[in-house]
Symmetry: C2
Subunit: 240 residues, 2 copies
C-alpha cells in the first residue's frame, strides 16, 4: 500500500492516533493493511503497547517516520492504522440514523460516537455528504466508526423504498410535534432523520412520517446539528 | 483602539463575521468601539446591510482592509466588531451553567449557544478555563455570548459559598443518579455542573449536591462535553 494523503477515491484510509487505531484493531482487524508507528512513539498506557497489540492480533506493524512526514501530521500523532475500505450495510431489523447531506466531518464523527453511545449502530448517509472515511471523520468519532454499519443512498426516497418498515421521524424547525411530547415507543424499527448543518431538511420531509421539533427559544436560529442529534438519540434510546 | 490579534490580557476583543457582529450590536451596543467592514463586503441579506445597521444604532463603521489583513483572516470574514470587554455577572435568581476548567473554545461556544436555546442565561467558569472572549469562542457561540451573564471563580468551593441557595447537579461518569430518573423539578435555582473535556469532574464533586450520569453504552468512553451538556440542558429546560 502506497499511503498518500487521503483522497475520497482511494481504496484505503487511515486512523490517526492511538485511540481510533485501537478501535480499528478491535473491531475491523480483517481490513487492516499495516499499522505505522512513529519513531518517537512511547506507550502512554500500560495496557496498550501498540507493538504488543499488533503482535497479538497478527498484524503488520512498522516503525516508519516517512509515512508521518508524507501525510504532514501536526505533532501528537504517533500511531496510524492504514486499512482498506469495507462494506458493512445497515440492517433492516434495527433503528437507523439518517443524515441527509451532512457537510462537516467533525459533526459526523461526533454524531457517530454519540450514536454508538446510545446503542444506534446503523447509519445512512444521503448523498452528497461528507466522507465517512475521511481521517477527520474517523478521528472525531474516536474510532466509533468501526462499531457501526453504514449505507449510502442517492436520495431519501430511494432509501425509504428499500426500508418500507421503518417508521420515519424527521427533525425539522417546522416539525409538527415537540420531541418531549413523543412518549410512545415506536412500534418496530424506526429512522431518525436529520438535514444538513446549514439548511436543515427541505419542506417535503414534513410529509414523510412524523416531523419533530426540539423546542428552543427564538434567541438562537437553531441548535447545532450534533447537539440536536444527541438530544434525539438520548430520548429515543430510552424507547429501545 | 489599535486592534491587534486577540490576546487574553487585552481590554478588547472582536466578533468575526456578520452573524455574531449583529448579535453584538443588538445586545451589547454600549461596549462597541468600531465596526470594521472589508472593501469586498456585499450585503447578502436585504434585511441586514451592515452600514445601515450601524447608522441606525449610532455606531462608528469603517471600511478598512488593513485591520482584516493584520488579523490574518482567512477569507469569508468581511465584518468585524471591535468591542471593549464588559462585566455582566450571573444572577442569584436564575439557574446556572457551571463549567469547571473547560479547555476547548469550540465546545464553549456551542455550549453557550445551546444554553441560550434552552433558556439558560447564566454561565460560571471555574478557572483555569478557556477564554470566553476568545474570538473563536464568540464565533462558535454564533454571538449567543452577548445574550448571557457570566462570572469567573478560582474554585468551585468559592462559587458554592457565594450561591448557597443553588441546588447542585454534577454531571459525572460516576454519577449516582441516571438523568432520565430525575423527574422532580428542582425546588428553586439550580446549577448544572460539568467538568473538563478530557478529565471530567474530580471525585470530590460526588459529595456536592446530586451527581448525575447520562446513561450510555460501554462502547464509548464518554459523551462529548457539548453533547452531554445539550442533553442535560434539554432535560432541565422542561423543568423550568
Amino acid at each position: 500500500m502506497d499511503l498518500r494523503k487521503y483522497k475520497h477515491e482511494a481504496e484505503y484510509s487511515y486512523t490517526l492516533g492511538m485511540a481510533p487505531t485501537l478501535e480499528l484493531i478491535q473491531n475491523q482487524p480483517q481490513c487492516i493493511d499495516t499499522v505505522y508507528v512513529h519513531p518517537n512513539y512511547t506507550p502512554k498506557d500500560e495496557k496498550y503497547n501498540i507493538f504488543e497489540v499488533c503482535q497479538k492480533a497478527g498484524l503488520r506493524c512498522e516503525v516508519n517516520k516517512k509515512v508521518f512526514d508524507r501525510l504532514s501530521m501536526k505533532g501528537n500523532v504517533f500511531v496510524l492504522g492504514a486499512f482498506y475500505k469495507y462494506e458493512n450495510p445497515v440492517s433492516d431489523k434495527h433503528p437507523h440514523i439518517v443524515l441527509v447531506n451532512p457537510s462537516d466531518s467533525g459533526n459526523l464523527g461526533t454524531i457517530i460516537r454519540t450514536a454508538v453511545g446510545f446503542g444506534f449502530k446503523d447509519l445512512v448517509i444521503i448523498r452528497p455528504g461528507v466522507d465517512l472515511y475521511d481521517p477527520k471523520s474517523i478521528r472525531s468519532s474516536m474510532g466509533a466508526l468501526f462499531h457501526i454499519r453504514f449505507s449510502h443512498f442517492d436520495s431519501f426516497e430511494e432509501y425509504m423504498e428499500q426500508f418500507p418498515q421503518h417508521q420515519i421521524y424527521t427533525f425539522m424547525l417546522k416539525g409538527k410535534h415537540y420531541l418531549h411530547d413523543i412518549h410512545e415507543k415506536p412500534n418496530g424499527p424506526f429512522s431518525l432523520v436529520f438535514g444538513n448543518e446549514a439548511t436543515g431538511l427541505p419542506d417535503r420531509f414534513l410529509d414523510y412520517g412524523e416531523s419533530v421539533l426540539i423546542k428552543h427559544s427564538g434567541e438562537i436560529d437553531s441548535l447545532n446539528l450534533s447537539i440536536a442529534f444527541g438530544i434525539a438519540a438520548h430520548t429515543f434510546s430510552q424507547h429501545q
